[in-house]
Symmetry: C2
Subunit: 203 residues, 2 copies
């Protein structure tokens, strides 16, 4: 099982990290991707000497100033190689994701291939923009309520509609991540994991 | 209000990020510190050209492979400048923190100055090692139960004992981080924040 998590500057750190940490605990392979490119420093002529960091992608800063090093660039991702794509929220991260043609293409291709597509907080609006919510149900951060029609919107903390999985905010990130394990791995694994890390919320 | 969060390789990502994200949302200044030093690449003679990254500290990898860029090195921290020190758990991160004399000294000095001292998951064992739990009550991850005496141990998700604040696991990180806001800022700010991000657990 392989999952790709695209990142943009201003991603929400709790949402991003909870998704990646919980999926990896369930032995799902997760590849985090930036919108940048490898070897950026070298391309920019900064003259770094050859060393182990040579082909790293640049860091990405979250909306609360935490900088992380993604695993790869989105340009290296082949949708065929993945079982799911999951978007974290955070401002302006989700807006940037929604304005990037590569992200919209990835979502459409994953959806077209029958893969899981998921998003939390403001990021379900990116799924709307990609056209993958049509005919399905979803939830979103209260501030983005207007991006979903009354037929689409469900006022739950996590909504599963076929292979579309959505959630609301940083405070629902744990339930969202555990639900991803439930859908991608098994209900049993999800329950066991929740118990192991002492999650008390209903999942 | 200023908080220092020391990090070692193998820190628990959800715990670390939830602490930092929630405190920064409450407008607390948080400085994340590695055990490494600035200019490591330059010191190692890797010949990086002068650029904006020149004086950065090295990245630190969490126990689930997420790499983050800390704000500073622990060598730069003056306990007088901070109101609290908070340790994330994660294996082997908390063991490394407990084996580092600078971390033990920081905890003792902060405690001696009457500042807040806090830890989650396995990391309360580091507080025990520093001698700052004596005469107080605390909690810890079930696997570390033996590190606390029966007089010290409290079986709650978050335990506040004077200025000592402890918690159990990744699944209690949100309650722990919100409680830090309650103690360092105000109960009102804590409640408002929990509501804003849609936290449903009891805090």
């Amino acid at each position: 099982m392989r999952v790709v998590v695209p990142l943009a500057e201003g991603f929400e750190e709790i949402e991003f990290v909870t998704i990646v940490d919980i999926l990896r605990r369930a032995e799902v392979e997760v590849v985090t991707t930036s919108l940048g490119e490898r070897n950026r420093d070298r391309e920019l002529g900064k003259g770094r000497a050859a060393d182990e960091d040579e082909d790293e992608v640049g860091t990405v800063r979250g909306s609360h100033g935490i900088r992380i090093v993604p695993d790869a660039s989105i340009d290296e991702i082949d949708p065929q190689d993945f079982d799911a794509v999951v978007l974290p929220g955070g401002y302006p991260g989700f807006v940037t994701l929604g304005n990037d043609q590569r992200v919209l293409d990835l979502l459409r291709r994953m959806d077209g291939l029958g893969k899981h597509v998921a998003a939390i907080c403001g990021a379900p609006s990116v799924l709307v923009k990609a056209g993958v919510v049509e005919g399905r149900r979803a939830t979103i951060h209260p501030a983005g309520r207007g991006d979903l029609t009354d037929d689409q919107y469900v006022d739950d903390r996590v909504v599963v509609s076929g292979k579309l999985i959505t959630s609301k905010a940083a405070g629902t990130a744990m339930e969202f991540a555990l639900r991803l394990v439930g859908e991608l791995v098994s209900e049993e694994r999800m329950r066991r994991l929740a118990e192991e890390i002492l999650v008390e919320c209903e999942v």
